[in-house]
Every structure is written in C-alpha cells, then in structure tokens.
Amino acid sequence: MNYLLYFFLCLVLILIQTTVIHNLPLFKGFYDLLIVVVIFLGLYRNLRESISVILFAGFMMDNLYNGPFGLYLTVYLWLYACIRWSSVYFNVRSILFLAFIVPAGVLFENIIFLGSFAMFNSGSFHPSGIYGVVAKQIIWAMITGPVLIMLLNFSHSIWSRWFNMHVAGQKEQ
C-alpha cells in the first residue's frame, strides 16, 4: 500500500507542478517538489520502497519535460544516493540538517541541468536568467523544504497508524 501511496503522491505533485503552480504568479519559479519526496525517502524509508518510487517519479518527469530523457532519473537517483551516504555522517533528523538538505538538493538538480546544457550543447544558452531562477528556487526551498519533509513524515505516520488499525487489523480478524 505504501507503494501506491507514494505513486499517487508523485502524480499529485507532478500535476501541481504542471498546472497549479503555473497559474499562481506568487509561486512562479518554484522548485521541483519531487526533490522533497526523494529526500524524504532517503531519510526515512527503506531502499526497496524508495527506488521503485524514485524510478516512477523520474520516468514520469522525464516524459513530461523537453530535455534529454533520463535527466530527472539521474538527478533523483544520485540525490538519493547522496542522502543515504550523508545519513552515515550527519544527524539527519535535526531541523538544521533538513533546512540545509532541501536547498542543497535543489542546487544539485540545477547544477545537473546546467551541466547537461553545457555537456550536450543542446540548444542556445543565455546565462542572464540563471542566477535569478536558481536563487528563487533555493529561497523557496529554504522556507518550505523542512516543513514539507516534516509534513510528509507526519502524514506517513498517521497513514501507517490508520492502515494498521483498519486494514491490517481487519485481515487478522
């Protein structure tokens, strides 16, 4: 059921990114919300569950944007690997770490994207707007990132409790 929940969450976030955010001028230039999901999975969920969700999210995003196929998958998988690796060395549950890791994830995604522009030389490239776009995303990530991760964690614990009480409990009976 967890898989279904996270697949559904990814779909909702993708729809929000491609429709709702574009209609709200305040949120123009908002960061990729699936980064929050990837970080949450890296911090709190097991490998098997996380990888399938990340593959699904990456596949969907790669098919919805106009860049080279596999770029979002690359970002999500490497970001996930970095989060898992950093959890060995840092106290990943602290607020301070959360406040740092989401902007870092956003920065990482932008670096990979800009790197791909430079490496594959696909299309024209004008550096004038880069700083504005990246800075806006990082500021949004700093403000909303930790809250969203804590909200995801809280929602997941409520979901688990509800699921164990109603569905798993009924099966046992």
């Binding site: 574009h22 990729d32 995003m61 098919n63 106009n66 004008h126």
Partner: protein, 273 residues
C-alpha cells in the same frame, strides 16, 4: 587485491560514465516514433485538463464574483438582488471577453490560408529550464509533429509530440527552438532562438543592416515550418560588441506565454506530411 575504497571510487566513475553516455544518447533521440512520452502524455493530460479547467473556473469566480459581492455587503436589502445582477453581469462580461477573444481568433483564422485547429492550453513544462505547453488536441484532430502553433498576437511555437487527444508544443522561448525570421523594416534575415526566459534572441543578423529598438520581427517562411509574415516580437535591446560579424539582438515576443489560454494549430504547414 583492491581496497574497498578503490573499488568504490572505480564503481562511482563507471556509474557516472554510463550515466553520461546514456544522457548523451537520449538527448540526441528525444522524440522517437514510439516514445514513452506519448503514453505519459495520454495518462497525465486528462488530469491536467480537469485541474486547469477547475483553476480557471475558480479564478473567474474569485475575480468576478466574490470581490464584487463583498462590496454589496454595505446594503443588506440590496445584497441578494445586487449579487444576482452582478453574477449575471459577470457572466455577460465573461461571455463578452471570451467572444472577443474567439472573434479575434476567428478573424485571424480567416486571414490564414490554411486549415487550422483551435486548442486550449492545459499544462506546462515541469522544469523552469525548458518551455513547453500541453494542448487538448491531438492526432484524432489531425494534429501532427512539426505543425506551427500561433495566436493572433504572434507565433507561439510548434508541435513536438502528439498523443491521441493531446499534444506538446515547443514554445519559441525554449532554448531548443529556432525560427527563421526577418526584420520587417529592412528585410534583414536572422534566426530567432529561445533562451528559456521570457525573451528571445535574434542571431546571425549581419552588422551592416541598420536595426533599431522597436523594429518588428516576422517569420521569413524559409524554415518550412511557419508561414511567412507572422509577427514574432519586437527588438528590445541591441548590444554592439566591438568585434564580430553579427548584431546581438534581444527580442520581446508579442505572445504573452504566461497568459495563453487558446492557440491555433496550422495544419497545412506540417513538415511531416
């Protein structure tokens, strides 16, 4: 034989190399004949359609109804009556605006000597670095890859991928877009390229041509995609570098890509006949 650290470093290097090779290949063959993008487009686009319609409806209600009704609170006796009239008047206003927009589109359609399809914009690109939109017309409406997309104000872009009922349009402000163009006044030729911001740049205009701020840029028709004479935008800024053969020109497109709701797809100008 090798330490764990060495194996890990080599492993990471191999993974990164495989990753780069994969991306390099996929960037060259973005839209293949049976791409999975079409499947995802068909799955996601209906939801985008519903959400966009809901957002527009909510926006209209918010903009035209609640604001005005709140003003009517001053007089309780007239509140209901006023609210009803305001609602009616807003309905008329909305109909009038929609009528003007569609009449504009219709006039434009009449002027263009080719078959066209009117489509609604239902979604946008999830990445800020790429600029595409999703429209609610696809193969079943006769839309194909390479068809130009326009609005009365000017050129919007071209279709790059189609599903049965939905299509993806590459906007002229996307970094992968290029349109063959002319400066209307002196017929100087150049290429309008997107830079993934709200502006475009006009490249390869030879410096001997006299270009001024405000000059109108139109399609040349030489690229075989867009018909000749459609407006693209106007010259916003000209940078004069001391060296180089060409002008560096920044263009503001006439189309406001943040506010486009309906577009026209020109069917007869498809490259893939």
């Amino acid at each position: 034989m090798f330490s764990k650290k060495t194996v890990m470093i080599v492993g990471i290097i191999i993974l990164v190399s495989v990753n780069i090779i994969f991306l390099s290949v996929s960037s060259k063959y973005r839209y293949t004949a049976y791409s999975s993008g079409r499947f995802v487009l068909n799955v996601i686009a209906p939801f985008q359609d519903v959400i966009t319609d809901t957002i527009r409806f909510t926006k209209n209600v918010w903009r035209h109804y609640f604001f005005l009704v709140s003003a009517a609170r001053e007089n309780d006796n007239l509140k209901k009556d006023l609210g009803r009239h305001i609602q009616k008047s807003n309905e008329y206003l909305e109909i009038e605006l929609s009528n003007n927009r569609l009449r504009n589109m219709f006039d434009f359609r009449q002027n263009i000597a080719c078959k066209t399809v009117v489509a609604e914009v239902i979604g946008a690109d999830p990445s800020p670095w790429y600029r595409t939109i999703v429209i609610n017309k696809g193969k079943s409406d006769g839309i194909g890859k390479g068809m130009p997309v326009v609005i009365p104000e000017g050129v919007v872009g071209q279709v790059v991928d189609t599903g049965n009922n939905y299509s993806r349009v590459l906007l002229i402000i996307d970094r992968n877009s290029a349109v063959d163009a002319l400066v209307q006044g002196n017929r100087a030729r150049g290429i309008v390229k997107g830079i993934s911001s709200d502006k475009c740049i006009l490249q390869y205009v030879v410096r001997r041509h006299d270009i001024g701020v405000g000059d109108i840029i139109i399609t040349s028709g030489f690229d075989g995609v867009f018909p000749k004479g459609l407006t693209i935008g106007f010259v916003e800024k000209i940078s004069q570098s001391s060296s180089g053969l060409f002008h560096e020109i920044e263009i503001t497109p006439y189309a406001d890509f943040e506010k486009i709701e309906e577009v026209l797809v020109l069917k007869s100008f498809s490259m893939n006949k």
